[in-house]
């Protein structure tokens, strides 16, 4: 691949990030995707739309989120300064709302009165149900029957917000089956329905649109760094499942060649065990869920079951822009195990009084590793993408504690 100077000009008009991305979908989806692409390309340059979005991000989501110097954690680690971009302080407790508020506004401008979403752990479902309530839209969330059982609190939360949660009983009865079901709904009801995808994967224009809505994280962080520290960070890190919070932080810094970028994938029980979800670190290029990207699959091309203690990272693909950044050498992607993430979770809780989401704890663990590599005056900026209240039961169960 020739050396890339401007990372901000991707994707191209076909939705491709170099060799990745695109629209690998059935013919029935081509028309709705074309309609969405047309609408979104117009709206992303529409000052009225952008002003409406900014206003909701400020007064409803609570942006900007601060950058916090985790001093006691940094001292404990004994290396560079660790800075946390506090996306956990957003309304609903994670970066997910940046995207769902944006897509709901697009839906409204397109005249769609019904939104659908699929969810694994329930976070994206809650974020979708939240914005549907905010804009008075009907909301249907597809969720695997197994996940519904595992995530009762989030299911109830969605119901409180007025959403219908539809259990999916086909296949493994988890996220990917919910995704298939949501696709079916969209194809069947496309006239009045908008499909809110929760990560930077899927067919064009989703990887671009979801990235654009999350890129506020990096834009804010870049300005905050310059204002408070007078310089850019030495290294960025964020956890990568589908990769929306990571691309959100990374994007504004992609053309800053001096800023190192490291994505933390879920290495589960260790990449060597095969029980992980590290698509970039251990997968290969393939086609899944509408885009070309790195996937975890066997030699027959069957997508393999993934494992992570964190439901939000438990995905066998990854956003195509990350695949592109990996091949271009612009970002590195490394694995963080369940145990490392849990250790980081506890350490952050005790040194800083912050309960991080298990997903984000992978980023914190990676930030700690990076801090040890750098001198004391270096700056490691870590995206704390969500708060951990949702995970306390998982952690208690794993550690044999009855709550």
């Amino acid at each position: 691949m020739p050396e890339i100077q401007d990372f901000h000009r991707w994707p191209d008009e076909h939705g491709r990030f170099g060799a990745y991305g695109g629209s690998y979908v059935a013919e029935t989806l081509m028309a709705p995707l074309a309609e969405l692409t047309e609408a979104y390309q117009r709206l992303r340059q529409d000052p009225d739309f952008l002003a409406e979005l900014d206003s909701d991000l400020k007064y409803y989501v609570g942006r900007p989120s601060p950058i916090y110097h985790a001093e006691r954690l940094s001292r404990h680690v004994g290396g560079a300064r660790i800075l946390l971009k506090r996306e956990d302080l957003n309304h609903t407790g994670a970066h997910k709302i940046n995207n769902t508020i944006g897509q709901a506004l697009v839906a409204r401008r397109m005249g769609k009165r019904r939104v659908i979403a699929e969810t694994g752990a329930g976070q994206h479902g809650v974020a979708s149900a939240t914005v549907a309530a905010r804009f008075g839209m009907q909301c249907v969330v597809y969720m695997g029957a197994v996940d519904i059982e595992r995530q009762k609190i989030n299911v109830y939360r969605m119901k409180l917000l007025g959403a219908d949660v539809v259990p999916v009983t086909s296949g493994s009865r988890t996220l990917k089956d919910a995704l298939n079901e949501a696709m079916r709904d969209w194809v069947t009801n496309v006239a009045d329905t908008f499909y809110i995808i929760g990560t930077v994967a899927g067919p064009h224009p989703y990887p671009q649109m979801v990235r654009d809505f999350n890129a506020i994280v990096g834009r804010e962080a870049r300005a905050q760094m310059l204002e408070r520290y007078g310089r850019l960070p030495d290294v960025l890190t964020a956890c990568v499942g589908g990769g929306s919070n990571a691309i959100g932080l990374f994007h504004a810094f992609l053309n800053d060649a001096g800023v190192r970028i490291v994505g933390a994938e879920a290495a589960g029980e260790g990449i060597a065990t095969g029980h992980h979800a590290a698509s970039l670190a251990a997968g290969r290029p393939g086609v899944l869920h509408g885009n070309r990207t790195y996937v975890l699959c066997d030699d027959n091309g069957q997508i393999t079951e993934t494992h992570s203690v964190s439901a939000g990272l438990d995905y066998p693909g990854v956003g195509p822009e990350h695949a592109f950044l990996k091949d271009a050498g612009r970002a590195e992607y490394v694995g963080v195990t369940d145990d490392e993430a849990l250790e980081a979770f506890h350490l952050l809780a005790r040194t800083e009084g912050i309960l991080a989401a298990l997903e984000s704890s992978h980023a914190v663990a990676q930030a700690m590793k990076l801090a040890r590599e750098y001198p004391k005056d270096a700056l490691v900026l870590c995206n704390l993408s969500g708060r951990g209240d949702k995970d306390v039961h998982t952690i208690a169960a794993r550690e044999g504690v009855e709550v």
Partner: protein
């Protein structure tokens, strides 16, 4: 001449509507796979659509998804499918076989290698559900190997795009008869008739209509305006649960026979 083109030419000559059954390779039982293909031909199939099992069949309904899951659970992969087509060809040199599936298994096999292996086994065309025309550049080695790329068209396809599909159609153009996934039961025949008539005048290949065809009556309704009728989910559902090769073949024959008869009635 490709077997698909030859078969549709013969159908046209005889003024017959083609019957294209779909089965998932290796379902309901891998040991009956080849016998099932012969049974489909004996019951009047003009083209066989053989589904390559995939773990994430996004565009299929639950019936075909479950068939895929059952086949994968029994270890069926693309290599098995090609082997079965090869075995089928030993006794049937004429019936066209189209592999229907998703891109990732072919990508992992390697496009050039797949083209060669499929052509050698006796595959005539591929219908790759998640590879629309816009992404078809990767399929060039398949074309070089002589395989037809069967394209899909839908009621939601915009006019400009439909013109492009009609222009690029080869083998046959597969018109999905309602905007949805496979196996759902909604079909306004008059609607489809008008649209398919339009497509048939412009397409550079015959037009097969599928999705939602369940029995002799619904098949016959389509026969009036299509070059061929595709039947998938209803057949797969009928075969599910059979374990012995004989029983599978019998069920297939019993299911298809009345449909063939209805199609052939003047």
């Amino acid at each position: 001449m490709n077997r698909i083109d030859r078969r549709f030419a013969a159908l046209k000559e005889a003024s017959r509507t083609g019957l294209i059954p779909f089965v998932t390779a290796g379902d309901p039982a891998p040991q009956g796979a080849v016998a099932l293909m012969h049974a489909l031909v004996a019951a009047g199939a003009d083209v066989i659509e053989l589904g390559v099992p995939f773990s994430d069949p996004m565009a299929d309904g639950p019936v075909i998804q479950h068939a895929s899951e059952r086949a994968i659970a029994r270890g069926v992969g693309l290599g098995d499918v090609l082997r079965w087509v090869g075995q089928f060809r030993q006794r049937d040199a004429d019936t066209p076989v189209v592999l229907m599936g998703y891109l990732n298994p072919i990508e992992m096999h390697g496009y050039a290698r797949f083209g060669q292996d499929a052509a050698r086994a006796g595959v005539d065309g591929v219908l790759i559900v998640d590879c629309p025309l816009e992404e078809s550049a990767v399929l060039e080695p398949l074309r070089v190997a002589g395989l037809r790329q069967i394209l899909l068209a839908a009621p939601t396809t915009a006019p400009a795009r439909m013109a492009q599909l009609c222009e690029s159609a080869e083998g046959f153009l597969y018109y999905v008869s309602f905007a949805g996934i496979t196996g759902a039961a909604r079909l306004s025949t008059a609607d489809i008739a008008a649209r398919v008539a339009e497509v048939r005048t412009r397409a550079k290949a015959p037009v097969a209509v599928g999705f939602g065809v369940r029995d002799a009556t619904s098949a016959k309704a389509i026969a009036g305006f299509a070059d061929a009728v595709v039947i998938g989910s209803a057949l797969v559902e009928r075969l599910a649960g059979a374990t012995e090769a004989d029983e599978i073949a019998t069920r297939a024959r019993e299911f298809l026979a009345p449909i063939r008869k209805a199609l052939d009635m003047p």
